[in-house]
Symmetry: C2
Subunit: 110 residues, 2 copies
């Protein structure tokens, strides 16, 4: 089907999955790392830095922007991207809660 049955899961589970999904491609990981490293970054810089075609980078940027993790600011013919710090922090809270779950019992069935 290729289509996740999101309606049978909780909002929290779907939210975790959506955030994780956007990190599930190395190009988007690389873009984010670059935005953290450089305080602001033009689209063209990312194309040069990462080595994928411009439309491909543009598409990845669109997905990151759609989730609110980055912001883009038009400056003439260029677009300057940066991390959306408030939303990044909110995302971290959600993901940390999931990643830092504790085992209720010191299980080891295996």
């Amino acid at each position: 089907m290729g289509l996740a049955k999101t309606e049978i899961f909780t909002d929290q589970q779907n939210e975790i999955a959506l955030f994780a999904k956007v990190f599930g491609h190395p190009a988007r990981v690389a873009i984010l790392q670059q935005l953290f490293k450089i305080d602001a970054c033009y689209c063209g810089d990312l194309v040069n830095e990462i080595g994928l075609a411009q439309p491909t980078i543009s598409q990845h940027l669109k997905e990151l922007k759609h989730l609110g993790l980055i912001k883009g600011n038009v400056e003439g013919t260029s677009v300057c991207y940066c991390i959306h710090t408030e939303n990044w922090t909110a995302m971290k809270t959600v993901m940390n809660e999931f990643l830092n779950q504790d085992l209720t019992e010191k299980q080891d069935c295996c």
Copy 2:
């Protein structure tokens, strides 16, 4: 293409993406949460709990196992699954390093 160009990224970037990808589906999130909640869990229990068909759950379990995040132990005709705590901890280190990046400068281009 549907195929990521992993060769142009660092091992670290690819590793982050692989972990994130497996969390990028709510069924796998739900499975992991259940395994944390219950100290051990049979495949059939997960099928009942989550509400996807048995082959679908089995497929998701396979992906989680392939990344080493869970272990499975055959007990008669059943299979008992649990979190692979050591590998989970190692994964957390990798993901936390990515999620907890700090901005080098108090950027705000936007």
